[in-house]
């Protein structure tokens, strides 16, 4: 049908569009430019979110297509909040979150401070240190299980060499006491450069003149550090903590590959637990409620934190 209306429209489109665009007002262009983005985000973020909330009040299960779906009200939420296992995963997540942030802030800040001594080759070393951060956590995490093997693993060999302990006398992934640290170590290895880069930007934003003035006042280096360096870098550092906090609250890929949540439940972080509920047990309604709780938690904590951050910035 060469002459159908839609065909004619199609052939007419190119010049037609060009003509139309020429005549568009700024306001129309603004909407044309923004609309696709907003639409896509509504379709792939907001619509699913609403759907999740809806599902969270049902007993729907993906693997039971033939079962009746019933409204269960708040029952899913009640079950989750009363489940000691869920609180155990929260605890594991908190341990992971706190220690990764503490270590990354300390090491990252120290590295930034050292790099800011502007020694020769600092650019080269910065680039090298930054590498792990950009790599795929799943692929790298998987390889770390190899490094962590007693006997044949590089990590155990190096630690054994440094401390004199036999490399097969401890198992980072297998030992209940060590496993939570095994994931902290790998995450710190990967993400310290992130904090470092941000701190470096903070350090470089401090004008020399402030230090020069302090020098005139005969303030000691120690005092300069605490009264100038730290407060000036603090907003940057807090931003870094915000990013790391959100990322590690969502942590899934690295830890799944490293420990799979074990031994027992020692490293079962919340996202891993959620994955088990949603995609292994297929308790879709229950898992949706879980997801909503997580989302509210991360959003709530982040908002409080951002308020604090803004206060620090205003000072």
């Amino acid at each position: 049908m060469p002459d159908s209306p839609s065909d004619r429209l199609a052939t007419a489109t190119p010049s037609g569009v060009a003509r139309t665009i020429r005549g568009l007002s700024d306001r129309t262009i603004a909407w044309i430019f923004v609309a696709p983005t907003i639409f896509l985000l509504l379709a792939i973020n907001i619509f699913p979110l609403i759907w999740t909330i809806r599902l969270s009040f049902t007993n729907y299960r993906v693997n039971r297509p033939n079962a009746d779906v019933e409204w269960v009200g708040l029952q899913n939420y009640q079950r989750i909040l009363n489940d000691p296992d869920v609180w155990a995963t929260m605890q594991a997540t908190a341990h992971f979150l706190i220690w990764t942030i503490v270590l990354q802030v300390l090491i990252g800040f120290a590295l930034a401070w050292l790099i800011n001594r502007k020694f020769k080759g600092n650019d080269l070393w910065t680039t090298i240190i930054v590498l792990p951060m950009m790599l795929s956590p799943a692929v790298v995490g998987n390889f770390w299980t190899f490094l962590y093997q007693p006997q044949i693993g590089l990590f155990n060999t190096v630690v054994g060499y440094l401390t004199g302990a036999a490399p097969d006398s401890f198992s980072m992934i297998g030992d209940v006491a060590l496993a939570p640290w095994s994931i902290v170590i790998v995450d710190t290895w990967m993400w310290t450069p992130f904090v470092m880069l941000i701190c470096l930007a903070g350090l470089r934003s401090i004008p020399d003149s402030i230090y020069e003035a302090a020098e005139c006042d005969r303030a000691s280096a120690w005092r300069q550090f605490w009264t100038i360096t730290v407060p000036m870098v603090l907003p940057f550092l807090m931003l870094a903590v915000l990013f790391r906090g959100i990322e590690n609250f969502k942590m899934f890929d690295l830890v799944v590959q490293l420990t799979g949540g074990g031994p027992g439940n020692t490293t079962t972080l919340t996202a891993i637990d959620l994955k088990r509920e949603a995609f292994e047990r297929w308790r879709t309604g229950y898992a949706s409620a879980y997801a909503v709780i997580l989302f509210v938690t991360v959003f709530g904590l982040a908002s409080i934190y951002v308020k604090a951050l803004n206060k620090v910035k205003e000072r």
């Binding site: 639409f39 896509l40 509504l42 379709a43 792939i44 619509f47 759907w51 809806r54 993906v62 693997n63 039971r64 297509p65 033939n66 296992d85 093997q149 007693p150 006997q151 097969d168 006398s169 401890f170 198992s171 992934i173 297998g174 030992d175 209940v176 420990t259 799979g260 949540g261 074990g262 031994p263 027992g264 439940n265 020692t266 088990r276 995609f279 292994e280 047990r281 297929w282 308790r283």
Partner: protein
């Protein structure tokens, strides 16, 4: 449903303009786990390709990810797999959710009868509900947990002598689990040919089904039952009976005394590795590994021997493994897939399957007088196959399994609580699941 319209509206615009991806050009895709038997099946299937003119494609997923990936595939209505060699415990869920096609009519039309297959495999791999003649799969690979041991080490005179002196009996294949632990203890930390070796590699994996498939071999033999034989969902006093507690304690003691360091998350492939590299005297593993062990340049031939899971105070059982082959109902190639099953069920193909390392479940193959002597492990396979027990195959199997993985790993590997607490907890978890299912 309103949601459906919403979805369609929200996303029809999304698809417009995006690239349409067409299905791959292959004719027939078979999905299974990535392991030795799958490679043998690739070889075997070449005959089918030559006979039928179809091109076969294979999607093999390693065991730790197998259930996850494939159940996700089925639950998403995926069309990747035409044929699925799915794990035995999926049968209930897949039958009830309509993932698999019921094969009764097809069997009748083709003259295939389940009487020709080993009864335990028919029950284990094909039937749902259990004990009824409703078939959803053709038994494809008969597997069972058994043990492999270093015969060359066992036969060393100096070790024989020392063992005799210490334990007051000959160093030989263990008859009971206690004896097995003695042997493992004997080898643990011993220097053999200049390297330190360990007692036994056992299943401890956390993420999928590993530790459950291991611990049940101890639990069954000490008196664990899945439920009251009279009323199957009555669990208290059976799952956590005195014997069950003793069995669980045994497994932990075996893990603590006699396994290689760092073996806290091991399943099939890790156990093979440890055995092949000469780290352990014995390994627990599914029988599928035996052809590979027998052919191995380091530990193969006379250097290895095989024995069924030793008895405990309450009897002798072994964990059933293995799978049936099913046709996925979402497939576009149902006829071709059925053709494959008809081809696979032929006695000649089944006996070739056994020759290539596939454990046929066809009685004509395993009851052949020459079978027991056809391979060094054939007799052990027959003995093991006679004592099998399987995990739940309920539609809720994944929930039941995850609960058990959790409780058992926590007790055996992470060392928290007592065996009684772990099993009491398991009873509570399982009761809750069955209540949700409306079965209690």
């Amino acid at each position: 449903m309103k949601t459906k319209y919403l979805v369609t509206a929200a996303a029809s615009a999304l698809i417009a303009g995006s690239v349409a991806t067409s299905a791959a050009a292959q004719d027939l895709t078979l999905c299974w786990a990535a392991w030795d038997p799958a490679n043998a099946l690739v070889e075997l299937s070449r005959d089918f390709e030559a006979e039928s003119g179809y091109t076969m494609a294979f999607e093999f997923v390693p065991w730790p990810n197998f259930a996850d990936r494939m159940l996700n595939e089925l639950n998403s209505g995926g069309q990747l797999c035409d044929l699925m060699i799915g794990d035995s415990q999926w049968i209930g869920g897949s039958a009830e959710a309509g993932h698999y096609i019921q094969l009764n009519d097809f069997f009748d039309a083709q003259g295939i009868t389940m009487d020709d297959f080993i009864p335990a495999t028919v029950t284990g791999y094909s039937e749902w509900p259990k004990g009824t003649p409703n078939y959803w799969a053709l038994p494809a690979f008969g597997d069972v947990v058994g043990w492999t041991y270093r015969r060359d080490w066992f036969e060393r005179p100096e070790l024989q002598e020392e063992f005799q002196a210490t334990y007051g009996r000959a160093l030989d294949v263990p008859n009971t689990l206690e004896e097995l632990r003695d042997i493992a203890e004997f080898f643990q930390g011993r220097e053999i040919d200049g390297t330190t070796v360990y007692g036994a590699a056992i299943y401890t994996e956390r993420g999928s089904e590993g530790i459950t498939m291991g611990v049940t071999n101890a639990l069954y033999n000490y008196g664990f039952e899945y439920g009251n034989p009279e009323s199957p969902y009555d669990l208290d006093g059976f799952v956590n009976s005195e014997g069950a507690v003793a069995g669980l304690e045994f497994y932990r003691s075996l893990y603590e005394c006699c396994t290689p360091p760092g073996s806290s998350n091991w399943y099939m492939s890790e156990n093979i590795d440890a055995y092949r590299s000469g780290q352990v005297a014995m390994q627990m593993n599914f029988a599928f590994i035996w052809p590979g062990v027998n052919a191995d340049p380091n530990v193969g031939g006379d250097r290895s021997g095989y024995f069924p899971n030793p008895a405990g105070p309450a009897g002798q059982f072994a964990q059933l493994g293995g799978q049936g082959i099913s046709v996925v109902s979402y497939s576009d190639n149902v006829d071709a897939a059925l053709e494959y099953i008809a081809w696979f069920a032929q006695p000649e193909v089944q006996s070739r399957w056994w020759e290539m390392g596939g454990y046929s479940a066809l009685r004509a193959v395993v009851e052949d007088p020459g079978f027991a002597s056809s391979q060094p492990y054939a007799q052990t396979f027959l003995d093991s196959k006679a004592i099998v027990k399987d995990f739940w195959a309920e539609p809720a199997y994944a929930d039941l399994l995850l609960a058990m993985q959790d409780r058992v790993h926590n007790y055996v590997i992470a060392g928290s609580g007592t065996a009684q607490e772990a099993l009491d907890g398991l009873v509570a978890d399982w009761e809750e699941i069955f209540e949700d299912e409306g079965l209690r």
